[in-house]
């Protein structure tokens, strides 16, 4: 059936063997692909008894029906696993080229189980799977390794871990195509725990499309819409995602100094405008992407992709650092070491606050740009204080007696948007199934950018409806799998029509979003099975109790409790956040209980 290769590649590292078998197509149509399919497979394979860093955990790489089709931004893929950072279900997705190549290799899913006795890397050329000794590659950083294994953007693509993954840092990323990352929640540590250094893919089969004429029309219309949206045609290509820095700062929703403030006096110095004017070499893009938000930046020391807004914020405003070259350099270092920039920056900010308050004996201080790179190095190699920082802010702050200073939800460090200036964003973080994350239905579109239309960012009543809808939409988009930036110019109804054109199965917009709702509920069930409860759907006390004393968000704290009650009702869950039987029946999930 067009859209799916209908094949799973199942690799057992214990024995260095593999098998292939058909994908359950009923499951595929219900969960689409990507994140949805990954969550459904993980449900069967990894239960509460499994330690995330044990051989019993799995890595499930998935693409989706749109991956590799040539539809705008159809370059993405996912990895699903149990997170070593949070203990929740974890999906991370990435762009670049690897996902497209993986699709062309003829698989929808690749499951990696077990643990190799010694370091290995895997090479996939459609039906030919080869296991290679990686003993000499172990310890190698990402940029060198990617080149050594023959990265060639349209023909051969490399996915790997760096030293952080090898050292089992719980905030380690899996990197692909040199500077793209499956970053959040520590999937790099799971790969490291399996002694798996890299997966290289060469594919040769272009995905089939059921209705080429309709597909061509949707391509044309999408191109028009992306060209007409100032965000996708001007702001992102010209300034990258860092265009948000001044916008968020101006409305008083830019978390600063470990969320002690909501505005940063140095925001202008680390803004998209500054990056473009002084450090931008060119912009670049993932496969089949007309937006081109990727920055290629250069300082005296480095030249490479990035930084993204969240990375710039994490090492910038969150650490009170307005030295943009230092941020560009530490971002490149994170990519080379294979470590999540958001968690790394926010963990350092947490340590800075602990130090300044006298809870930690270290010289880490807000504003010290010179401390960024050495601290990240120490984290990746687990040296000195880095050995403890490598496992994220919650474990670190808990060890020093102040877990409340970890700016995380369910243990995952939150990104830049301060919930006191965006009520919906706070509810989003608190209820996100993988923890404090903006990629699970970001409210910045509705609450800040006016996409599709602006809503009052301080409104509390009714806010849960928007959060639920956007969580479901994001789960659907993550299952297709395409880039969420496309949704900033193109409404989701277009994605449903493209999905129909590619697969030949008629998906109304609501059907596609319902699939997203199914995925969201399944992830919730997974977390409940892991022991998470209503108490975990919360935010750091600072955001609930400490209002900013100045700026546009002055006097506001997150009004989480009333929003959460409304959210549970709107989701069809009980007052403890447990999906009701009626909802599970409606979504076809009863057979899992």
């Amino acid at each position: 059936m067009a859209g799916w290769s209908e094949k799973i590649l199942d690799i057992d590292l214990n024995t260095q063997t593999y098998k292939t078998y058909p994908l359950d197509m009923e499951m595929a149509q219900l969960f689409i692909g990507g994140r949805g399919l990954g969550a459904r497979l993980l449900w069967d394979m990894v239960g509460p008894e499994v330690d995330p860093l044990s051989p019993e955990n799995v890595l499930i790489f998935t693409n989706g029906p749109l991956t590799g089709t040539g539809y705008q931004t159809s370059n993405r893929f996912s990895v699903t696993t149990k997170s070593p950072l949070t203990g929740t279900v974890l999906d991370a997705n990435s762009g670049g080229f690897w996902g497209m190549q993986f699709k062309k290799a003829g698989y929808d899913v690749m499951i990696v189980r077990g643990k190799s006795a010694k370091p290995i890397w895997i090479e996939i050329k459609n039906d030919v799977i080869t296991f290679h000794d990686a003993s000499e590659l172990w310890g190698m950083r990402v940029f060198e390794l990617t080149q050594k294994l023959g990265q060639n953007n349209n023909r051969r693509n490399v996915l790997c871990i760096g030293p952080a993954g090898e050292k089992l840092s719980r905030i380690a990323a899996i990197m692909n195509d040199r500077e793209r990352s499956l970053a959040r929640g520590g999937p790099g540590a799971v790969m490291g725990s399996k002694n798996l250094k890299a997966i290289v893919v060469e594919g040769k089969d272009r995905p089939a499309i059921e209705d080429p004429d309709r597909f061509k029309f949707m391509l044309y219309e999408t191109r028009k819409l992306l060209a007409a949206s100032p965000l996708t045609s001007q702001a992102l290509p010209e300034f990258g995602t860092v265009v948000l820095m001044n916008i968020m700062n101006n409305i008083g929703a830019l978390a600063t100094r470990n969320h002690q403030q909501t505005q940063f006096e140095g925001a202008e110095a680390i803004s998209g405008e500054e990056l473009t004017e002084k450090y931008l070499v060119k912009n670049s893009s993932c496969w089949a992407c007309p937006i081109g938000c990727t920055r290629v930046s250069k300082t005296e020391k480095v030249e490479g992709e990035g930084p993204e807004f969240e990375s710039t914020w994490a090492f910038g405003a969150q650490c009170a650092i307005d030295n943009l070259p230092a941020i560009i350099e530490v971002n490149a270092l994170c990519n080379d070491l294979g470590i999540d920039t958001i968690s790394a920056g926010s963990t350092i900010a947490c340590a800075m606050e602990l130090s300044e308050k006298g809870y930690l004996d270290s010289d880490l201080r807000f504003g010290r740009a010179d401390q960024l790179a050495p601290t990240v190095e120490a984290m990746a190699y687990r040296r000195d204080i880095g050995a403890e920082l490598a496992d994220g802010s919650l474990r670190f702050a808990t060890k020093y007696g102040h877990p409340e200073l970890s700016m995380s939800a369910k243990g995952l460090e939150m990104p830049a948007y301060d919930p006191r200036g965006m009520q919906g964003q706070g509810l989003l973080y608190a209820t996100s199934n993988r923890g404090g994350c903006h990629m699970r239905g970001n409210m910045v579109g509705l609450e800040v950018l006016g996409l599709p239309k602006l809503i009052d960012r301080f409104q509390v009543q009714g806010k849960s409806s928007f959060v639920i809808l956007h969580q479901n939409i994001s789960a659907a988009i993550d299952s297709l799998v395409i880039c969420k930036f496309t949704n900033m110019g193109v409404a989701e109804e277009y994605f449903a029509r493209v999905l129909s054109a590619v697969t030949g199965i008629k998906y109304a917009t609501g059907d596609m979003i319902k699939a997203g709702e199914r995925v969201w509920n399944l992830e919730k069930l997974y977390n409940l099975r892991e022991g998470f409860s209503r108490e975990d759907d919360t935010l750091p006390p600072r955001l609930l109790n400490e209002a900013p004393t100045d700026g546009p968000s002055k006097g506001w704290v997150s009004q989480l409790e009333p929003m959460l009650k409304e959210y549970y009702r709107g989701r069809g869950w009980d007052e403890n956040g447990v999906p009701a039987q009626k909802k599970l029946e409606e979504l076809g999930l009863m057979n899992l209980m």
């Binding site: 599709p452 009543q461 939409i473 409404a491 609501g510 059907d511």
Partner: protein, 203 residues
């Protein structure tokens, strides 16, 4: 108690619908989904002159005392919310669009803006076009694939994430109908300027 911020959205869009002559003094209605609840205009209230007590909050899935006060079209609104991802609905009686609905099964705009935004607007026929389950189901079913539709001889139903968005689709449709009418009156050969425009009717 309905938040003042929500009332203001109803008041402003309701006034604009009246000013734009998309409703009569007491016609049309607006609603918004709040999780498992619906806020809708009270039956008989004037959209162009809404007061806070003109909004009724009721349950999405079943009746409560709110239904005694709610708009006649509550059933249609509930059904649309259950069957589509809509969070807001604008229902009104755009005059030219209704006029076009009397002779067509779909309206395919010829102007650039509506071609770009709407592609096409289906026309639905229902013998009893107000307050019946048949009408509600028919309208909601078509809205699964479109953001605005016309009920023949009656009016439009537009859905969106916000009232603002649904209002936008509504005014876009009426503007497109005006342009189509003027083009018809000018009665000169149409020069196609859009690529792949033949695909619009298949959208």
């Amino acid at each position: 108690m309905i938040d003042e911020r929500i009332f203001e959205q109803f008041r402003d869009i309701g006034r604009d619908l009246y000013v734009a002559q998309l409703i009569s003094s007491h016609g049309g209605n607006l609603s918004m989904r709040l999780g498992d609840r619906v806020v809708i205009k009270r039956r008989g209230a004037m959209l162009g002159n809404l007061k806070p007590h003109d909004l009724v909050e009721t349950r999405l899935d079943k009746n409560d005392s709110g239904v005694a006060l709610a708009s006649t079209e509550l059933l249609a609104h509930r059904t649309i919310y259950k069957m589509t991802p809509a969070l807001s609905i604008v229902h009104c009686h755009p005059r030219l669009a209704v006029a076009f609905s009397l002779s067509r099964d779909e309206f395919v705009p010829i102007d650039n803006e509506a071609s770009y935004l709407l592609k096409k607007v289906p026309v639905v026929t229902e013998e009893f076009p107000s307050g019946t389950p048949e009408m509600a189901n028919k309208v909601a079913t078509v809205l699964q694939n479109y953001k605005i539709i016309l009920l023949r001889g009656h009016g439009s139903f537009a859905i969106g994430q916000t009232l603002d968005e649904a209002f936008f689709w509504t005014t876009t449709l009426e503007e497109a109908c005006q342009i189509a009418l003027y083009a018809k009156l000018i009665d000169e050969p149409f020069i196609e300027y859009r690529k792949m425009s033949e695909s619009y009717s298949k959208f």
